[in-house]
């Protein structure tokens, strides 16, 4: 259980507010179908656009769907999306980074120049380009964001891998005649994954925002799946007549992103201190 211990230790040291927000977010996401009071997609045109009532505490949207239910279910959409993107991005990034850090030499140079190019292009532009080529769909969005995010992960992974390889206990293994397979898979990879997992939380907020942005632009999650960015677009025509419809998803998204960002900043700080 090498990667888990440092992660738990790190979470214990984080600001309570951020941990609380993230926990609430994760719980909502996991339990969404059981918590949501109404079917998020059930339309009731008779009450369309109605403000808060007892039956619908946050009101309903322009198609008469329960806003609270949609917000809660959107947490799940976002959570799953963020996790998928981070897992894909870090899978690519850690693979590239550890190979560069293990091999060094020209392999390292080549891979890191590719990473430089990847990092030089803004992530949103990469995502838009990938979706433009591959077409609009849920999995294409995940792929697009993963392709935009992996260079950052690769850079961190390489730094961790280089650092790990230079530790005397790794040198001792080399002197003992451990096979490259053992050194890479039994020692280097688990150590790197453990360290990079902590950094991953720092990115979650930005990814959540990117998913909402793509959905807002109509390139991410498609209706009728509830999603915060999607809800914002739906509500945009009513911005002046009924701002509640815009403010609620906007606030929820903001809260989640701020939670992740505070967490990320705390991660960066503890990592910095432990150096």
């Amino acid at each position: 259980m090498q990667p888990v211990r440092p992660l738990l230790k790190a979470i214990g040291a984080f600001p309570r507010s951020a941990v609380f927000t993230i926990c609430a977010f994760v719980l909502l996401g996991l339990l969404a179908p059981y918590i949501a009071p109404h079917d998020p997609n059930a339309q009731d045109l008779l009450v369309a656009g109605q403000g808060p009532t007892l039956a619908h505490p946050f009101g309903v949207d322009h198609l008469g769907r329960d806003t609270l239910s949609r917000l809660i279910v959107a947490a799940r959409t976002s959570l799953v999306g963020v996790c998928l993107v981070l897992v894909c991005a870090h899978a690519i990034g850690i693979a590239i980074g550890t190979i560069a850090g293990y091999r060094r030499g020209w392999t390292d140079e080549l891979l890191m120049r590719i990473v430089d190019v990847g990092q030089a292009i803004p992530s949103l532009i990469v995502s838009l380009a990938v979706i433009g080529i591959a077409g609009v769909s849920y999995w294409n969005m995940i792929l697009a964001l993963a392709l935009a995010w992996w260079p950052g992960s690769a850079r961190i992974s390489r730094a961790v891998a280089v650092n790990t390889m230079n530790k005397p206990h790794m040198e001792a293994l080399r002197v003992l005649g451990a096979s490259p397979v053992r050194i890479y898979f039994v020692h280097l990879l688990p150590t790197t994954i453990g360290a990079v997992l902590v950094y991953a939380t720092a990115d979650a907020g930005a990814v959540a925002l990117a998913i909402a942005t793509l959905s807002f632009l109509g390139l991410g999650i498609q209706p009728p799946t509830p999603e915060w960015g999607q809800m914002l677009v739906d509500a945009l025509p009513y911005l002046e007549s009924d701002p509640r419809q815009v403010i609620l998803p906007g606030l929820t998204l903001t809260l989640a992103v701020i939670g992740f960002n505070i967490l990320g900043e705390a991660v960066a700080l503890t990592e910095f201190r432990s150096r």
Binding site: P168, H169, A172, V175, L176, G177, A178, H187
Partner: protein
Amino acid sequence: MSAVLEVEHLVTSFPSAKRGQTIKAVNDVSIHLNPGEIVGLVGESGCGKSTLGRSIVGLEKPQSGRVVFDGVDLGSLSGRRLREARRAVQYVFQDPYASLNDRQTVGEAINEALIIAGLRSQTEREGRIAELLNQVGLATTARDRFTRELSGGQRQRIAIARSLAVEPRVLICDEPVSALDLSIRAQVMNLFLDLREKLGVSCLFIAHDLALVRQAATRVYVMYLGKVVESGSSEEVYRNPSHPYTQLLLASIPEADPATERRRNPPLIKGEIPSPTNPPSGCFFRTRCPLSVKDCSTAEPVSADVSPGHKAACRFAGDLFAKRVSAA
């Protein structure tokens, strides 16, 4: 008696911070180790003694020269065969806190070395772990403790047990006791003597503590700026040092008695060790040598016998030796 390990004209250099320049950390060094022998390698920090040790076990890649183990040139092997041949030469690191993985228990650390050595059966490995712990003077109950819970001396014993797991014939010990408390040093030193006795392991003992090397080693090499300046049996070298550098180095050993130490006025080695990027012409030591003459800057001194088996690389080595012998 044929040598178990021979290093011939080894050169290891690193790229310098300045572009295009290289630092020759080990500059044309030839040494050998006989079976069951403890050999000392001494010199100031930065003289390349650790780099030499690391090059022998393959942690640094030498530019040129050969490392011959048991008659086989390690440079001619690669991949799996190289790893297996290298296993016979193990390395004991200076810092026992860094050389063991904090997240492993003692048993796991040694077990892994046994797996690497190709011991397949779990029960056999269990037996070997107990045997190895015993050999380095630890209780078998230490097996389940995490390495981070142990003291420096205990950790160094475990690092040694792990090296012994692959049944090496040579141990390269890089300042193995300098990170340890004074009271523990003697115990760990005795362990090395004990292992030589019981297992016939040869040791290359890298140290800056001259008194320690005198006690343990039968032969000694003195290094300065990447080169061996004097070599011979430790008795000879310590009694009749014939290179000005060795003489100054030995004079710097403090006396145990504070009264005589206070009266003593040891000649100091003047100046700093020159940059290996840009070593002095001719004799590398001439910038700090009390005897240097004009010719020292043109001709590089050759290592010559001053007495059988005792070599020194200085134009005055013969005179210095004769002076020491007549003074005694």
